[in-house]
């Protein structure tokens, strides 16, 4: 089967510093894959390479078998690559409904239109309401995003990414900063993501990773240390040495 997302020998330098070293990752459609590694392992650089913020020094990125290596960010999104951010990137002055509607309109290729109002025809509203409902945000749809509690903003972050109907979704530390009590909501939400979406989870919270992921890549110093099932990763002495051994669940 063609992988939903695949990198081949991906390499990137910052000056003399090798941030990404010959990384090969492959996500089949519907994958539940996690990317872990200690601080400075190159996770953020990898995300930036995948989303098109950075251009790789060498190597290729394929989506569904098609080359996207040099493609602009917005075109990758239209190809089905969506992401969330480690730090909330929302529109604080808009409402969740407005935010998600905009994302839905974008996905429907309506966003260049400048004549019909945003909600015209009801299709956008219907889908936006459906997405908000799925993330338990229906009751907050008309409130100002900036006024929502942090945990719900975090959910909206995922909802915005999902509104683009991605084939591949990059979740960049979705639980970062979320209080312990609300982490279950996040986990429930990402577990409930549509099965056809391939998810790449970048996360520090090992509890979350092991409860969510079906396969894990461990990144150390920009290079892939190992890849395997959660059980294999947990049992691997090298991983323990560089990662689990150091800080435990951090």
């Amino acid at each position: 089967m063609t992988p939903a997302l695949q990198t081949l020998g991906l390499t990137h330098h910052f000056g003399a510093f090798l941030a990404t070293d010959n990384v090969n990752i492959s996500l089949p459609p519907g994958a539940r894959h996690a990317l872990i590694g200690p601080n400075g392992a190159g996770k953020t650089t990898l995300v930036n390479l995948l989303t098109g913020v950075l251009r790789p020094g060498a190597g290729r990125i394929l989506m569904g078998g098609e080359e996207v290596t040099g493609m602009a960010q917005d075109r990758r999104v239209r190809r089905g690559l969506s992401r969330t951010f480690q730090i909330n990137q929302l529109f604080p002055e808009l409402t969740p409904l407005q935010s998600v509607s905009l994302a839905v309109a974008r996905r429907m290729e309506l966003d260049g239109g400048w004549w019909r109002p945003l909600g015209h025809g009801g299709a956008v509203a219907k889908e936006a309401a459906e997405i908000l409902g799925r993330f338990g945000l229906s009751d907050a749809m008309g409130r100002r995003v900036g006024d929502l509690p942090y945990g719900r903003q975090r959910l909206l972050e995922v909802a915005l990414a999902i509104a683009a109907r991605p084939r591949v979704l990059l979740l960049d530390e979705p639980a970062a900063g979320v209080p312990e009590a609300e982490r279950e909501d996040i986990l429930a939400a990402i577990r409930a993501l549509p099965r056809e979406v391939a998810v790449l989870l970048i996360e520090h919270d090992m509890d979350l990773v092991f409860r969510f992921a079906e396969s894990i890549t461990v990144l150390v110093s920009g290079a892939v240390l190992m890849e395997g099932t959660p059980a294999e990763v947990a049992a691997d002495p090298r991983v323990r040495a560089v990662y689990l051994g150091e800080g435990g669940h951090d």
């Binding site: 917005d74 999104v77 951010f85 905009l102 966003d111 956008v124 936006a128 459906e130 008309g142």
Partner: protein
Amino acid sequence: MSVPDRDAARRQLAGLARWRPAEIAFWVAVLAAYALFPQRAALIAEVAVIALFALSLDLVLGYAGILTLGHAAFFGWGAYVAGIAASRGWEDPTLGLLLGGGTAGVLGLLGAPLVLRGGDLTRLMVTLGLATVLHELANRFTGLTGGADGLQGMVVGPLLGMFEFDLEGHVGAAYALAVLFLAFLLLRRIALSPFGWSLRAIRANPLRAAALGIPLRRRLVAAYTIGAALAGVAGALLAQVTQFVSLDVLSFQRSADGLLVLLIGGVGWLYGGLVGAVVFKLMQDLLSSLTPQYWQFWIGALLVVLVLLGRERPRAWIARLRRPAEGAAP
């Protein structure tokens, strides 16, 4: 998903586009001002021109977030194109308006890549530079523009072939208000369309907007072009109503006036330009008859004070008061 949620969502989105009573009241008041004060027709026309210019600037500055010090470039361009057309025998005002707006839009489209090339500082410099260069060119090409003496020999035909522009300026004021209203309707639609929302999104958070797949550059170029075209229409309107064009349509003062109008009325809000233009012009009229020499000082003081008080504050205050369901007004 529940059906009530879906209906609520649909209602909320549809509600954004609805005309509110206060909006209708505003336009009724404008109409009333025109009907009640025929002897101030020239002032009303001038207010309408400034309001239209401020609207176009708001699209660029308020919606797209492009910092500019030279929006007068497009205003002046439109004024000269309409003026030159009228002095070369193309007397129909509607045609002149379209020519002025259209060519200014093309100029905006061509200038956009340069303007959008750098950061805020570069934008300030390029926009200011563009306006200065146009000023210099208009001064240089005396044969075409009349240079420093101003463009002469404009013959503006009757409006729609029926209404001759009169000395009292009644036709001119009605024409200016009508054009303003049409342009406002257009901008209102744009602001409420997905395109308008994507501009807001880009200004609020470019990172997220890009992650949603919105092509930032294309949107900003489009906004800049439309803003330029509307500024051109405003300039053409001024040229036709006053039947004269001089170099000051391209001056820095024009651009600064536009900024001040927006600051008074509020940025990123369509009525901001309108309200600001009314207040600005009345204040200017008042101050300049009180202290003709030094009204500039008070205008400057107003800018400083408004910024220091925080131009966001009154609006944030209003936003907090308004019912949560209604969201941002057009």
